[in-house]
Amino acid sequence: MQEILARKRMIFTIRLLLIIITAYVMLFTPSGREHLVLKAFFIAFYLASDLIVAALPERFFSNFRLFYLLICFDTIVVAAGIWLSGQAGSDFYLIYFLIISLSTLSSRLRYLMLNAFIFAGVYGWLLFQQGLLSDDLAVGYCLRIPFIVIISLFYGFVVKSVRSDKESELRRTNKMLVETRNQLIQKDKMASLGRLASGIAHEIRNPLEIISMGVDYLDNLMPDGRPEAKKAVDRIFAAIERANAIIEDVLKFSRKTEFVIEPVNIGNLVADVLDMAGHSLKRADVGVEKEFSDPRLCAAASRNMLSQIILNIINNAVDAMEKAPVKRLKIRIYMQKVNNVGYKTGYRRADYFRVGDNMIVLEISDTGKGMPEDVMMKIFEPFFTTKQTGRGTGLGLSLAHMIIDRMRGTIDVSSQDGIGTTFYVKLQPAADGHCTKEEDVGKEKNSHS
């Protein structure tokens, strides 16, 4: 609202300036005595129009079409003023550039140029009508027409570029704000999940235990020779197992005691996880491509948790590629400088990746079935899964999100339906981002433990 009011004031002031200059030229030039009544009427009319502008409600000034109508009105009025003053041949025509400067308040090149052509046409006619296009100085007068158009074009183009830059910056900022908001919502959900973990375990496992023992009790009471009853018992136990698997997942990932942040050689850790996943990769006939920019890149992370997360992403990738014609898993590790805000949000300022900081990026891409955007938006939500019932608890990625969050990193995803999916795990570098020789031996230590 403040901006519109300032705009209204600016329009009023520039128009007042136009009126004063036009009145001065009309009254105080050598031809000032001619058509005195008409000139007085003209000045009064123009002044009245500015007073009407001052009285108009603010909402009219946010509509660019009405604004350009006003500009058009001023253009014609100023041209009439030039005609009335008899100064078409003088430099008075330069007053039009005040209207150009006024029109840039709305920076719409098309409307500005339309206006410039109207003025050029009217001014050209004035020059012709006053016989200035046929004397010795005709060339000089003629050049004024393209001059008006070119200056208007240049002015309009500059303003449009500035506006376009501002708009794209605004779009970028808006996009980042939306991402930040989404991450905050996600973070809140994850924090709640952590708090709920032990409560869920206790409150659900106790009745599960009663069901489990109760079914054993009924099983004992049942007479032998009832295979269908035995099958039903097995089904109940399978259901108990499924419910228990969810609780196991929640508990496994939500333990604070296992959470030790230490320098982790990411390349070695990924190699370890690929060893662990080797059997399922081989069985699914998935080819692995590795691209490590530096074998000693070192992240500040929880070794066990991170390996769980990587294994989880790889297992998901293998599942997603089940029916893919080309089965390729690509893993990239590199260090990247944060060149924009919005990589990380958090409640604490210290959690942010700041612009100019380095981060270690682990990219895991597959050539699987990908996912549509609506699915992608939900994959970090607890209990969301696209897998068949019984094949996934829907907690792996939401827990991964929570864990990475605790490592002061982020996990993002990009996917194209039918083409593949890429996960980006962004981590804080340990020290300068490179492991010492002792830290490099993580792989050997791990493989022997």
Partner: protein, 126 residues
Amino acid sequence: MEKKKILIVDDEEDFCFFVRENLINSQKFEVVIATSGKPGMALARSEKPDLILLDLMMPGMGGEAVAEALQGSPETASIPVIFLTALVTREDTGTGGLKKIGESWFIAKPVRTRDLISAIESVLNG
């Protein structure tokens, strides 16, 4: 074969009932039950069970406090205790479901009768 006496201390009455019935049904055990900490301690002293199945999270006197009190009394100090808890995972306890941490045994809920029996036997046989 002499039946072993098991004391179950758990605030879930239904759970106590089913475990007692299932253990009795195995013909290997006789069972006494208590649904809170203090009566559990009293039963431990009076019944002298061979083993106690103790719920870790109970209202009032929790399983840990009960175990400490039992350890502190010469009459009951030698009775092995298996904690039943909903807060450990199979990863913690291993596939058998039983894990020794320090001097205490833990078993993850939910557990099936056959696994519970083998856990009890394993602790009783040292």
